[in-house]
């Protein structure tokens, strides 16, 4: 809000305030604050050096001291300067009065831009959440599709395995019936039975080994 006062304006306005009635620096600061509804509050570092400069130029002088604060009043030179710049002062007064009205506009702009920012932020957040959800549901869909595929593969595999086992069963059944009919045809004594058992054991071991070896290799 320092744009409120152009170059040299604050100096002129300080003269005017002191001309209204003698004041000390703090009184001037709070007066300015009040005038501009708390939106413009000049710092002591802005006001005090200017008062000192005015005093050095002989435009104001210390009239009194109140609790250690210098109360300034205009000198004749100060009054003369103010009189010489009446038109300028009126113009500044008009501009500042308009600025005071502008303060409400500043408040409105401030609130509006906050609302605008918030609205944009919330919209962005909502879009983001929705995107995350979509991504999650897409990931979920992908996962379930993957599961379906795995299940189908497993089904296919087990189907194949069952087919293999079925043909193996047929082979085994054939093997058993061949052995039994050969035994029936040729007769079996104890000696041959032992040899036969040995051959069966060997055959079983070879078959199991073949199966295990294959599953190990796979």
């Amino acid at each position: 809000m320092s744009k409120l006062f152009g170059h040299g304006d604050l100096r002129l306005w300080l003269l005017k305030l002191i001309d209204d009635h003698p004041r000390h620096g703090y009184d001037i600061i709070s007066g300015l604050e009040e005038q501009f509804l708390g939106i413009y509050s000049p710092s002591p570092g802005t006001v005090y050096p200017r008062l000192q400069a005015l005093e050095q130029e002989g435009l104001i002088e210390v009239a009194d001291e109140e609790d250690g604060r210098k109360v300034y009043q205009l000198t004749d030179k100060g009054r003369a300067e103010l009189e010489a710049r009446t038109a300028e002062l009126r113009e500044l007064g008009d501009r500042l009065a308009k600025s005071a009205r502008d303060i409400a506009r500043d408040i409105r702009d401030d609130v509006k831009s906050a609302v605008r920012d918030l609205r944009a932020e919330v919209r962005r957040a909502a879009v983001e959440v929705r995107r995350d959800e979509r991504r999650a549901s897409r990931a979920g869909r992908d996962a379930s599709r993957e599961r379906t595929r795995t299940a189908r593969v497993a089904r296919d595999v087990s189907h194949e395995v069952r087919g293999v086992l079925r043909s193996l069963q047929t082979d085994l059944d054939g093997f058993v019936s061949d052995v039994l009919s050969a035994a029936r045809r040729h007769g079996v004594d104890r000696e041959r039975l032992d040899a036969l058992r040995q051959a069966l054991r060997d055959a079983r071991a070879a078959v199991v080994e073949a199966l295990e070896g294959r599953s190990k290799g796979a």
């Binding site: 009040e34 005038q35 509804l37 708390g38 009065a97 005071a100 009205r101 303060i103 409400a104 506009r105 408040i107 409105r108 401030d110 609130v111 509006k112 906050a114 609302v115 918030l118 609205r119 932020e121 919330v122 957040a125 909502a126 959440v129 929705r130 959800e133």
Partner: protein
Amino acid sequence: MERWVINDEFSTDLDEIQRVVVRVVAGEVTVTTGDTSHIDIRRDSGDEVHVEFQNGTLFVSQPDPDAAPLERFFRMISSGRRHRCTVAIVAPPSARVQVSTVSAPAVISGFEGGTDVNTVSGEITLSRLSGELDVKTVSGDIAAKGIAAGIKLKSVSGDIAVVDGSCRWVDAKAVSGDVLLDLDLDPQGTYDVTTVSGTVSLRTTAEPDLAVDATSVSGHLVSDFGLGWDSRPGRKNVSETIGSGGARLWVKTVSGDLRVLSGRAAA
């Protein structure tokens, strides 16, 4: 009692204002705080602006409030657009503020004493208010920032936005207007929002203690807190607790979306 009838411009300091009542049609109304009570009024067109100051109550009106009701009514509707004035009031923070306008926008800032605003189409801007707030609008937007009080808001088509609020309770109703609340939740706070088609958004801190009860017919739900509709034919609802509950959010919409979001910086 002091009384002024203003035809062009008028400006004066007043004794301490305790209550501000403004009833105008078009133009602009600003009510702000300061140590010295002050009014600054300009009639832009239409009837004279009437100003009365009695027992701490400042009454500003255009057209004449003392005209017979029927006459006032005819003046309103026959030449409503003609009445236009610019009103700027400075009053102490403790003042109670009541503003009614037809189309004039209003800016009200800094009060602790309670604020009522009614407008048809005026845009309402509120800032740094800590007294209870009651705002009604037909099509004007409501924008509020830094509100620390219970607030009651009603709008037909105007959007409602409360930024940076620390309200103990909110009662917001809108038809097609959106309701956007950006709040620090009170542990015992109740936040009640009803809309027909307007989107309801609550943005608060990342780890709130909030119980959410919401129903909608066809609105979408978007949430940072993993809330989801429990859908039944013709009705969706959600009833869940975030954190340890405490504050309560009640939302009813027909087709309006609901967003419950984090993202507000913790106080």
